[in-house]
């Protein structure tokens, strides 16, 4: 694939603040969505003639709708705490990839149109008109943010750049200047049921193949069922789990866990996708419509529990937003939400992360492992940003960090942590999250992976780490692509449930 040439950054001891390289990434932008792609999801087909007026108008609406956005645009004192916290800034040196500069692209326009000082004395307060140049900068640099929220951890005011990026993308979509990758995927979810565009019969064929493989490997009939009414659990997982490597190895692991625990479960051909790119583009209506598929599937199948597979942003949407969006979890009060509430078994967390399910079963002694089966692996864990900074697992603070690690320790003998400051709530993004996992942004993705790759190299050198475990489909795909740029084997990334799958004892548990 003829991508533009670029140089992979050299790995340095963390943290290294790069020399500024103005406009180093000014050429980086994703393909613009075509009129066909936009029309399919109700956005203007191409940049509308009166875009300036419309964009400022949409910003005004968002300011009214989301008080957080206004607070974030008002509160920044330019202290600089965020400047060296973004993996894209660290990897590219482009000053516009400092979180504060990314915010300022919108803050200038906000001040010009929505503050008194900016209306009267624009130059004194850094207020700017929304010129075509500024709009293009929005398009470029709001697609050089993975909405990972690492910067917000270090901001003394808690300003969340991801929300500003989301607002930026929402405004761009509202004037017909959206991104092809995300918008095409959203169209596929509506039309076919998942981000891949995998139709029901193809999914059924793939699952049948997985059943055959597992039987061949283990001698046990583990089922990977689809659309089974009356199953206890509906598993919603990223469609990459059906399609890509290493993703599918975690799918195999989920099935083995349910099998070993004797829990009946099903996938749904209607809700064959956990991911929700509506969040990435900051569009509430898309976010909600995509989430509602899962409620419809749960009601149709009559399940008692809803479990989410290894997908970072899906777990954010599920944990933080499903309650009011869909009534999975308490909050919504429309008739379907109430119906779903009465259907679900509230002795279990609703929704639950697959890691919560597995860890609960391990603690109750319902699963048995042969940990030595993973002895060829020396494992480290990469916290995925949306799980780490936008959700939780279990009943105690930090459960989203501890539970995946506890599972790994239960199924593998060799585990090492990467450097503090690169994990837990300060984890570095894989470099491909938030809707930038597309080929034309490869340079951004490789450079943005640099901080994570540096931390990985340390544990690879010191401890011989050869397996990077993660619980996110984007992380898995991104690392598979970028690891070779840093002289790592692409096959060293995999899922937590891939490790579970390797070590779990099926059949007789004696």
């Amino acid at each position: 694939m003829a991508a533009a040439e670029f140089t992979t950054p050299e790995l340095q001891d963390f943290p290294a603040i790069p020399a500024l390289k103005p406009d180093a990434m000014a050429q980086s932008k994703p393909f613009v969505a075509s009129d066909k792609i936009n029309a399919a999801i109700g956005f203007p087909g191409e940049l509308v003639p009166d875009w300036e007026q419309k964009a400022v108008g949409r910003l005004g609406e968002l300011l009214k709708k989301y008080r957080s956005l206004k607070v974030y645009l008002d509160a920044c004192v330019h202290c600089g705490a965020c400047t060296d916290k973004c993996h894209y800034f660290l990897g590219t040196g482009d000053p516009k990839n400092m979180p504060v500069a990314r915010q300022d692209l919108m803050r200038g326009v906000y001040r010009r149109h929505f503050t008194l000082a900016g209306k009267l004395f624009p130059k004194l307060v850094g207020a700017t008109e929304l010129t075509r140049e500024v709009l293009d900068d929005w398009y470029k640099y709001y697609h050089q943010c993975s909405e990972c929220r690492r910067c917000s951890v270090f901001c003394p005011y808690g300003i969340d750049t991801a929300e500003i990026t989301m607002a930026g993308r929402e405004i761009l979509d509202s004037v017909g200047y959206g991104q092809k990758y995300s918008n095409e995927i959203i169209g596929k979810v509506h039309k076919i049921g998942n981000n891949l565009g995998l139709p029901g019969p193809a999914l059924a064929d793939t699952l049948q193949g997985v059943e055959e493989d597992v039987k061949e490997d283990t001698g046990v009939d583990v089922r990977y069922p689809m659309d089974v009414k009356g199953a206890e659990v509906l598993l919603v997982t990223p469609s990459a789990d059906f399609f890509a490597e290493p993703h599918i190895d975690s799918l195999i692991g989920y099935g083995k866990v349910f099998h070993a625990a004797g829990i009946s479960w099903t996938l749904s051909s209607k809700a064959s996708e956990a991911g929700n790119f509506g969040m990435f583009i900051g569009n509430y209506e898309q976010l909600r419509t995509i989430a509602l598929r899962i409620r419809e599937a749960a009601l149709e199948l009559g399940v008692k529990r809803i479990v989410v597979g290894e997908c970072g942003h899906a777990w954010r949407v599920a944990y933080s937003f499903w309650n009011t969006l869909t009534g999975i979890g308490a909050g919504a009060n429309d008739p379907f939400a109430v119906q779903l509430q009465s259907q679900l078994d509230h002795r279990h967390k609703q929704p639950a992360h697959i890691c919560e399910v597995t860890w609960d079963l391990i603690q109750r002694g319902a699963l048995k492992f042969d940990r030595s089966a993973n002895d060829h692996r020396i494992v480290t864990f990469h916290d995925s940003c949306n799980v780490a900074r936008a959700s939780r697992m279990g009943d105690t603070p930090g459960g989203q960090f501890e539970i995946p690690r506890a599972i790994i320790r239960a199924v593998a003998n060799n585990y090492f942590e990467m450097a503090p400051g690169t994990t837990h709530e300060a984890t570095f993004c894989c470099g491909g999250g938030g809707g930038v996992l597309t080929d034309e942004l490869l340079e951004l993705r490789v450079k943005g992976a640099m901080p994570r790759m540096g931390a990985l190299k340390q544990v690879a050198d010191q401890h011989g780490v050869n397996f990077l475990a993660t619980i996110c489909a984007i992380c898995k795909a991104q690392f598979t692509k970028v690891l070779p740029y840093y002289q790592f084997n692409r096959g060293m990334v995999g899922g937590v449930h891939q490790l579970v799958s390797t070590a779990i004892r099926l059949g007789s548990n004696d």
Binding site: D205, V210, P238, A240, A477
Partner: protein, 110 residues
């Protein structure tokens, strides 16, 4: 965007994927492969033909696992793995092979 083969013009998208899958033929595939710096061998054709057969049945490219299994059956178990496919299609068997086969680009978190 477009490419020209034997005097005929074929439309592609921004990324070089053929817009109309039905327009595909072997000469088009050869040119698409050339643009990817791939010299089509018999082994490459095995993969491309399987992709097209699978697509005709299911309207999607096969999962990597389905593909490796099928290739393993046809060409021997030592070739039924993704490493072998990466040797044939270095950018990644999913996307690069789909492009040469004239199929739409697989999307999502892959």
């Amino acid at each position: 965007m477009a490419i020209e083969v034997n005097g005929k013009t074929y439309e592609t998208d921004e990324e070089g994927y053929l817009t109309d899958i039905n327009e595909w033929n072997e000469d088009v595939a050869k040119l698409l492969a050339e643009q990817e710096n791939i010299n089509m061998s018999e082994q490459h054709w095995e993969v491309i033909n399987f992709l097209r057969e699978y697509y005709n049945e299911f309207q999607i490219a096969p999962a990597v696992r389905v593909l490796t299994k099928a290739i393993g059956k046809k060409l021997g178990p030592e070739k039924g793995n993704s490493q072998y496919l990466y040797e044939l299609f270095p950018y990644g068997p999913g996307k690069q092979a789909c492009k040469i086969a004239g199929l739409p680009k697989p999307t999502g978190c892959i």
